[in-house]
Symmetry: C2
Subunit: 481 residues, 2 copies
């Protein structure tokens, strides 16, 4: 009986609460497929982005920004079936707008609109897709893209090679050393289909079947070609002989002697391009990670030349939860800008998109596995007080140290406990604490404490800044920071 009374009471309390909460009574959450980023996540992201940006800058890239939404018609007809994933804004009177789906179409619109014919730019920003989010696999509806593109009419494979070089450098600088960069060429694929006897109207659908070879065995892909897409089995078998090949220059040479391929101008043109990029890769010292791979197709329709994709080694592939899949990819798209130009002026482009969300996911998992804590602030010195009524002294000292260029904080409580202050230092990984007490103030000194070792030394106020500089340098070199 007592239990039921208590339950009743509890129910009543809950009721009161929900009344009190009034109109704000709804589940607190971020929209489906989106998330907040905590200070820990942001610290890791910013570290990674800084490294990536430094590579872009090393290659002389500029950066631009475009609005998060575009006139809907700018996006129309660019994404094929995926257009249904575009977020539209409500018609509130005025223009009809959609959230950007990627950074490439806004880039092309920017070039056409401003009549820019030469640019090397990177753009790191959020894009939006009303996809069914698979959070476990790190797929969200709001996510960052990180693109580098070179626009301009240049000579074959010179900018293309630099894009591949940049992928190589970025993965190296992030310590993700085990990777392969697959190369292929759209014209080679088209020529191959042509040479094998695929009807021209089936090129795109057969291409998208080939694209699945990174996740499915050839037998399944063949089944799709024959049963779903109505390709003759003998033609599929022929394709199968080619698209399972991968190698280096020797494979190019072999295929350049292949009677069947030699009949297709497209195939030969594609092979010559592959040959040239492999040649250039040697001068950029990246050949060790490059693989000419005829199974690489890449989904997007707008590619017109070389295509490439970096995959992490040891990645099982397949649709498993643990597969990261491609970590960067891109290619040449020479006709996209002209779609926006009233005179169809061509601005050839080649670019690469770094899969930073996947990179973040891999690195977050690494940190978690190593139980490694990321610092979320850069505070160097914490100004603490050992007694009451010293807030003004703390403020004065903080101000002195800020003036000296240090990153400093102190408690926002008037009379914080010393223990609480020191715990704050340990929690946030602050290397040094200055501790103020009445007697020290009178003698013109402070206690300077190394947080990790808990060693304390007394330092005259006049020498404090120099002493801090010395200790920071020391602990930096010892790697204790």
């Amino acid at each position: 009986e007592e239990v039921s009374k208590l339950l009743e009471l509890k129910a009543k309390l809950n009721e009161d609460e929900s009344l009190a909460a009034g109109p704000q009574k709804f589940t607190l959450k971020t929209p489906k497929g989106t998330r907040d980023f905590s200070p820990e996540q942001m610290a890791l992201r910013n570290t990674v982005l800084d490294k990536i940006i430094s590579v872009f800058k090393k290659h002389g890239a500029e950066t631009i920004d475009t609005p998060i939404f575009e006139l809907k018609e700018v996006l129309t007809g660019k994404y094929g079936e995926d257009s249904k994933l575009i977020y539209d804004l409500k018609d509130q009177g005025g223009e009809i707008l959609s959230l950007r789906y990627d950074l490439t179409v806004p880039f092309a619109r920017y070039l056409a609109m401003n009549k820019i014919t030469n640019i090397k730019r990177y753009h790191i920003a959020k894009v939006y897709r009303r996809d069914n989010p698979s959070i476990a696999r790190g797929r969200y509806r709001e996510f960052y893209q990180c693109d580098f593109d070179i626009a301009g009419a240049y000579d074959p494979m010179i900018p293309d090679t630099e894009c591949v070089k940049i992928v190589y450098e970025i993965l190296k600088v992030l310590g993700m050393d085990q990777f392969t960069i697959k190369l292929n060429h759209r014209l080679l694929l088209d020529g191959l289909f042509e040479a094998c006897g695929v009807p021209k109207d089936k090129f795109r659908s057969i291409c998208s079947a080939v694209d699945k070879l990174d996740k499915s065995p050839w037998s399944e892909v063949k089944k799709e070609m024959v049963e779903e897409k109505g390709l003759e089995e003998s033609v599929a078998d022929l394709i199968g002989e080619y698209v399972q090949l991968n190698g280096q220059e020797d494979l190019v040479e072999k295929l350049l002697k292949d009677e069947r391929l030699l009949k297709s101008k497209l195939a030969v043109e594609g092979l010559e391009a592959i040959k040239l990029i492999l040649h250039y890769c040697a001068f950029y010292n990246i050949s060790d990670k490059i693989s000419f791979d005829l199974s690489l197709a890449r989904g997007l329709d707008y590619y017109t030349g070389i295509i490439y994709e970096a995959v992490l080694a040891g990645d099982a592939g397949g649709d498993s939860e643990f597969s990261v899949g491609s970590i960067a990819g891109g290619g040449r798209y020479d006709n996209l800008v002209s779609m926006f130009d009233s005179k169809h002026k061509q601005v050839p482009c080649v670019g690469v998109s770094i899969g930073i969300e996947r990179i973040f996911a891999v690195l977050e998992a690494k940190y978690a596995a190593a139980n490694k804590k990321i610092r979320t602030t850069e505070v160097q010195v914490y100004v603490a007080s050992a007694q009451k009524n010293l807030v003004e002294e703390r403020m004065k000292l903080c101000n002195h140290l800020w003036d000296e260029g240090f990153k400093v904080e102190h408690s926002y409580k008037k009379n914080p406990k010393l223990l609480v202050q020191l715990q704050h230092c340990e929690e946030y990984g602050i290397p040094l604490a200055v501790i103020l007490g009445e007697s020290e103030i009178q003698r013109g000194v402070v206690k300077l404490r190394e947080v990790k070792s808990r060693n304390e030394v007394e330092v005259p106020r006049t020498q404090l800044a120099d002493e801090i500089r010395k200790m920071l340098q020391k602990s930096c070199m010892n790697g204790t920071l």
Copy 2:
């Protein structure tokens, strides 16, 4: 007659063109009230943001990020009349979403959702308002906010003073030395209205009239109070005696002896708070720019304590095209987070928003006036060739210099003209060029050219990296970079 034929021909040509353009025939533009940022604009923005972020970091701030859109109900009831300016997303099945209107409400939602009671964070991101854009005055529908906030139950005015200190430091570090930071307190305003005999239900509307004193003379504000808002003229006159006051500690002391104000508990509480923050400002060495100003009201309803605003001196004020108005502002809002908590748990907050769009506009105008060009890349060395067929040699040398850590680029043309290559260096402000020729290659040397002076020296390849380092350091110190 010939003319009319030509005109006819021209009309026909135009027609053909528009036919050829097909479905892409629409005005290329960004949505109303939005814009792209060019490499020049981005370079300036990133320089400014880096400086601002360095101040935040100096004070131990972390950073977070939230989605660009929120559940509509999160924003509902937070912005009063301005709610009509919120961008809604189209209902495409699923949740009803809106673009964020500011960063403060998402911050409060984040704190309540994650039950965070202590944080010091900055957040720099885009927000959206379907306002009537006044491009001339630098007002857009998509723009950046730059917020710093301290959440937590601390002692009076200690975090508040640090917010003011941060505004001071940011404006100093940006070289915008001529500014005043006005301080006031919401309780003092309420107490003042109470003491002057304003009916309680008119507090907010009279407050918003006072808010206009930075742009309008008292006579107009009084007119609004009396004629539009139905305040007794004698009451308005009384208010006028107070809200035109500004000063320092002495003004606080004077008002703390004012018989009328002393009758209002709220007024006294507000004055005591102002007294304390002015006291603390002295320890942070920022008193020279602080002004206690009773006309400062600030629009937002959610402020509960101290409020502040930085204005540039020399700014005429008023609604003129040249007025920048407030360049930073904020205050204490102790009740916003509790609106999201089902148990109405309070998380006291104080923060400041830096008006970075206005800062960008001011600095862009400054640069333009000084005819100062901003570098959009950080390239240090350009690898050029003086003869044909040296693309592979250029690639090898670029790769060597990248390995040595330099920022390097070369032409994407196979056989570029030397003049074009050197012009590129001048256009982009690249300090050094390495020039390759057959004879130099055979002798194992290169020409190293200082772009500005056009001086050239011959350097052995083995010493090139060291020589470049020396020259970069030299030109850096001479300020020729």
